[in-house]
Amino acid sequence: MSMQTPKEIGGIQFGLMDPETYRDMSATKVITADTYDDDGYPIDMGLMDPRLGVIDPGLECRTCGQHSGSCNGHFGHIELAAPVIHVGFTKLIRRLLRSTCRDCGRLALTEEEQEEYHEKLRRTKELGEDWSDVMKAAVRQARKAKRCPYCSSPQHDIKHEKPTTYYEVQDVLSGDYSELIAQAMQPDPDDEDDEGMSPQALAEKTGIDLQRINEIMSGSFRPRKEDRKALEKALKIDLTEEDMNKLMPSDIRDWFEDIPDEDLSSLGIDPSRSRPEWMILTVLPVPPVTARPSITLDNGQRSEDDLTHKLVDIIRINQRFMENREAGAPQLIIEDLWELLQYHVTTFIDNEISGTPPARHRSGRPLKTLSQRLKGKEGRFRGSLSGKRVNFSARTVISPDPTLSLNEVGVPERVAREMTQTMNVTERNIEEAQQYVRNGPEGHPGANYVKRPDGRRLKVTEKNCEELAEKVELGWEVNRHLVDGDIVIFNRQPSLHRMSIMAHEVVVMPYKTFRLNTVVCPPYNADFDGDEMNMHALQNEEARAEARVLMRVQEQILSPRFGENIIGAIQDHISGTYLLTHENPHFTETQALDLLRATSVDTLPEPDGEEDGEPYWTGHSIFSELLPDDLSLDFTSSTGDDVKIVDGQLVEGTIDEDAVGAFGGEIVDTITKVYSETRARVFINEIASLAMRAIMHFGFSIGIDDESIPPEANEQVDEAIENAYERIQELISTYEADELESLPGRTVDETLEMKIMQTLGKARDSAGEIADDHFGDDNPAVIMARSGARGSMLNLTQMAGCVGQQAVRGERINRGYEERTLSHYKKNDLSAEAHGFVENSYRGGLTPREFFFHAMGGREGLVDTAVRTSKSGYLQRRLINALSELEAQYDGSVRDTSGTIVQFEFGEDGTSPVKVSSSEDGDVDVESIADRIIESEFDSEEQKERFLGRVEPPTNLSEHAGPGLNKAIGTEVESDD
């Protein structure tokens, strides 16, 4: 037994396998279809032969001597009674049959054609393009050859009947040739001049003996080819019919054996590894039992694997075939059995062939055979190799915790006790390590395993932990529990962009959910309606370092998709900052301190003034406390509000979504780019905290009464809708009087529909305006819509004014009964209410008919999203697979793995979207960044001068190292949290 040492794979070569190799590697020939005898022992040379490997524990493998678990199993083989076609190669077999000579096996291309073909092949390979198209073109050309250019034997076209039948199509003499000739010799009844043709005339015209002609006409002599041609010419008829000559697998095998090696390489087959005749199976390898283990059911009965069932079928038919052949059974029966054997071997390989009924289990379930094990999402490749289950991972429901930093994740203690980190015991941490072990596997910062330097792993148990702790020495490894500050990877599916997987620092917490700060919801697209997320504990120092430097949440604040921040204030945070800054309210000292209590600001600035003898602070100055002292910024939010920040003070403007929101909040974006990710993280954390205190200070709630409008407003809405109805009635009358003028490029009907839709749209908008006028600026729904926190004015319109037209496929609702939507309406009623206009508001309530139409429109939305997600998911998968090999090179170009250039400069400008300004006018202030960095780089003015002035004092260490040149000074890495 050789030691199994890990080896590096240098390459993988795909090819066909020689049947001799099957026999050589076979542990045994399999001849009986039975598996176990009555005593439950595997039968020799049966499908469960112990030489094929062992699955029952305790038994010994008769081939390698190992026990189950260490024996991987061994292949056996079945000698097929007759060759059959391998379904996996039907296309290649067809291609070879069509392109090679049936007699000599050579590729049916003339020397010149071959030369041309090889030249083309060479060129496409050089260009790195797909050469299979070139080859297919050559095959098409070879197929056209009527005669072999080498042995000049005539060639026939090949018809492929899926999946595994091939015919040669030959023109042969029609069976009713005598009648055809007689008919053609009769005079044409429609043509009076035609007197037909006498046998004598025919004999003269064709040069065939009169006697022979008579014999032919009586059907007693079949004309030879030349005579047939002459007759056809003389009588202007076709005496042939297509004859399908079936090619048996054995014929094909003989044919392929003749194909010379040179021609194989022309056809893309490497003759040193693969011979085409091996595509016709004469020996079938039997997979080891470990690949098709049988299971024992509760009642003691054995249940065999699908593959075993299929192999049983194959062996049975194989035996019957042999018996029949030996008994000299008629050809018809032999052919039937041959076809049956082909069917079983085909379905053994692939049970989802179109045109072939799948082999079924007794219960009717289709069998899962070789192909089915590999193919598809749950198959071996996508399911078992690309997607494996992982150790050190955890999954649970997520819930929000605004007290955490956005870099952190709350991990339940139970999870922390299961996920471990390896600690190498050194003299610096030995006491710590011992304490972990002492705490045992149940206590929280405890340990689960220790590993001695000799490689033995010991489990830490409640019983042995005290004892084990004393034994821990230098050089041991301790697998300790996760503790606060450890770095882990956190992920929510679907992982559609890189921000779906980010690194967080652990905070161990009670209860059973993962906790995260609400500002990281947008990158994960997470909410808390039952979403679950996965966590992975990193297992080596490189992974932890990479995660901390590259993957931490704060490093992902800017999205590479649009180059602006994707992390920022959301929902209530935005309502909060809006309330805090919109009307610039005043706060007393207590209130101001309370607002800032969750931030790092612990001293208030100078008060903004005095009111009734008490000092007060404005919302603007409280907000400004969170800004960097030297930040200056000017921008106009999408609501048209000018925001002005001068030297870290908010001078004017309201802070809304455009200022601090996720998806491109101006202030967050600028701080990230101009200051640092760390500063941005601090800012976002503190904004969220301040906003929460602010929204709680003012109080914020929404109820049904917040959407009610006074009765007079309701009347106005009704009036607006009534007006619209009248206008529609006018339109309809004009239409019915045939007086409606059509719009350019539209029919009259379309014009009417458009005008009605337009009128109703206007009606809803005016209803919205009326409702809007009656809402105060302090209405919570209005605040949310204006600040961009949640919802829109349209939502408000629909709640308070009028829901409006329901649409299916962008049109008014037109489906349902004949000429009408519901039986409540007259046929061809064109009015608004008959086609899904909902005049009521959500608050007022919909009528049953309105409700029905609304459900129709709503359903379309649901179907659309369902279809869109599956469609776009598949599209995304294909796009990712196509683009995954592209790589930005160090020279700035983007190339694929073959080195072909895709972009000469990444993005044509060679810049990363997250490193450039996201707006046209607001450039990143490089000057001030440079100043700040230089400032912090040097301890003293003197040092700075020396460096910038390039005054290098002599040094005795090296010519290139000296004070001011040593960059390491002052760049000590500081921990952020």
Partner: protein, 77 residues
């Protein structure tokens, strides 16, 4: 027939006539000719040029990210 080269969305295509220029480009990007992106000889944009298979075409196009981007393509059949 429509002359596509006059359309404002079709960028300027010029054949790199001098072998030195081709050499320069290949050197700059450290590539074989065959690793350049390809363009068909019969591409409508090349109709007015005397480009032959194996030539390198310089295309100067307007860019969303920079004002002008220069790319090179190898003419193939």
């Amino acid at each position: 027939m429509v002359d596509v080269s006059q359309h404002n969305l079709v960028p300027e295509h010029t054949v790199l006539d001098e072998p030195e220029r081709v050499e320069e480009v290949l050197e700059e990007y450290n590539v074989e000719k065959t690793n350049l992106p390809k363009i068909k000889r019969k591409d409508p944009a090349l109709r007015d040029t005397d480009a032959e298979v194996g030539d390198v075409i310089e295309i100067v196009r307007d860019s969303r990210t920079t004002d002008q981007a220069v790319v090179y393509r190898l003419v193939v059949e």
